[in-house]
Amino acid sequence: MSGWQEVALLVLAAIGVAAPLLARVRRPRARVAATTLTLVGLALLVQHLPRRAGRPTAPDDRPRVALRDDAWTGSDACKACHPGEHASWHASYHRSMTQRPSGESVLAAWDDVTLTAPDGARWRLTRDGERFLAAVDDAPPREVVLVTGSHHMQVFWVADGRPRLLAQVPFVWLIDDARWVPRNAAFVRPPELAGAPPSETGRWNLVCLRCHTTDPQPLPLSPGLDAFDTRVGELGISCESCHGPGAAHVAANRDPARRYALHLGGGADPTIVNPARLDALRSSQVCGQCHSISCEPSQAEWQAWAAQGFQFRPGDDLAATRALLQAPLDPEADPLAATILRMDPHFVEDRFWPDGEVRVTGRELSALVRSPCFQGGELSCVTCHALHKAPDDPRPTRTWADDQLKPAAMGDAACASCHQTTAREGEAHTRHPAGARVGCMDCHMPHTTYGLLKAIRSHEVTSPDVGAARAARRPNACNLCHLDRSLGWAADALAGWTGRPAPALDDDEREVAAGPLWLLTGDAGQRALVAWASGWEKARAASGTWWLPPYLEHVVRGDPYDAVRIIAWRGLRDLPEARGAAIDPVAAPAARAAALAPVRERWPAAATDRGEDDGARVLAPGGRLDRARFQALSERRDDRRVDLIE
């Protein structure tokens, strides 16, 4: 019912109530007073009619949400027959990847907040009920029309003013930290970009909607891509993203006899795709629509996607409609590679480690297909991940939703289901005592992938190899836990276990613990991963924390990358030396240095008290920091350009 219909209904109801009352009033003055009171009451009622969430003030400014055609049905149609699956999907972060702004969906502080962007622009964020407004400097406020993200960070989009073109508010809300940071600070981006205004206008219409909505169509209206008629089937990733268009399935299963034949027969329903019933490749390709490094194979196919949306449907071969990219790209042999590298010369290094391993999050299929377990076995995404929480999964829904892992995949059971002999070997294979809480994934899927201001496990299943990781400038699995041990220590241990010779290492790699070495001399990608590991529970259990403060303080104080400083700050803030210190990792350098003073003052005393003597941690006898060596190492920081495209 429209707002005007609601008001008309209210007027009719009011007249219906008022008429008999007025008919009983005989004196004219009393009749006028009664009429006035009725009208005033009516006006008050209209004023206080509840406003519907997200009601558009400028409906043409934002993407349309409408089903493409009769083949699609929308997620609401699934609930009646699949209430459990619908409920767990609804609780997932897939569902809330893009939302209309509302008091429920907007997690950010928005009540008259003023933020200063790196370019000096002052943004004022205000709220009017369910409307969220953003104004830059003295310009009139614009209404937020979409919110992306709901798990780790949130980004906000306002109408640009041109048809359905969205522009980004240049700040990101970090959900766990409950704070705003400039947009570029939330990503590992070259420092020279930090002060520049992020040019994200139109990005939602062409890029974000690919994986943050269901059945997207950018529908550009001009060659300059400054006007759109963008349409999506649903905001967020919903049922039909993974199961395919469902209208035929819904129609067929209105027949109860058919439903019960399927229930009792246990067979697959040919009217819908169930990724769990597909083979490993096809099943994983359903996820790979978004979770891969891929692009349209040609300009013509890109234009077709922009005009018509994706041709891929779950169950299809993704490679038939999408180029699934692996490093290295060969521009001599592959015209597509040549085009990609011409448009973006840094395409490979921004996504892959030098040896071709994927280094950015959200691209897991590209890593998985390089794994022996995938190539020679039956490993697929759904081996470990459950996109719907199982009825017998005892964990709270929020816990399941974090990584959507099956309970078995939280431990070693997923690996042991195939590697039974290895699992039986126990300590003979792991080389770690049984109580060390080391799992298969800690060694074979280390946290060498970066994204969302944290490290995630590599989805390329490998065996620890200090030499190979070193050659790729990637932290190795051993030292991501044993931060307090040197690369030489890890290399010698692996050589002793495997019989393979240890790689050649330089003096620092043999003498200096890996954590300090990477934090001081690594590139921004390495520093981000190791800063994250310094706060990781398992690394802290293996390496201790007492030695961490000077290194994390050094990074938070002086690292040129905002994102690296934020991650190091997260590792530092719960250490005793930083307790009570009001440290802002994106504040100006002088302010950071002042805020970190207590850490510098407290740590030497704490370290001296321990009486540690461990040169591998860049400490001198007595627990004092070897300032000269610390300085020498920090001057060797690898300042190569790092721009990680998540």
Partner: protein, 146 residues
Amino acid sequence: MTLVTPETRAYARWHLRLGWWALAGWLVLGLTLEGLHGLKVGWYLDPGAETRRLLWTLAHAHGALLGLVHVAFGATVLALPGAGWGRLESRCLTAGALLLPLGFLLGGVVIHGGDPGLPVLLVPPGAMCLAVGVVATARRVSRAGV
């Protein structure tokens, strides 16, 4: 005024007994359902168990209500002993009171997503029997000239 014959009294007593015991049984189910809520039993309360929750709630509601119907029917028979009460209304009401709630209850034991288990097939014949029984009773009462 027509006297209540021993046969009519026995006829009424059967329905009164059935009604009160049904009421007792299905109210115990209601207590059980409250217990499942109180103990937050996932098998009953999880989103995937929505169908089971609906069916068992229906079983409880229909069972208790039909128990009351039988009590009312027994009382009606005693109030109108000369209405010529026969087998049709008695058997139909009895079948309805058994089939309907049991169909809901057993249909909720094994569920298939949004679909109940096969025992729910008891419900439609139960509903038919109940409808026939109620209509037959209404006709008897109407013809009794009250």
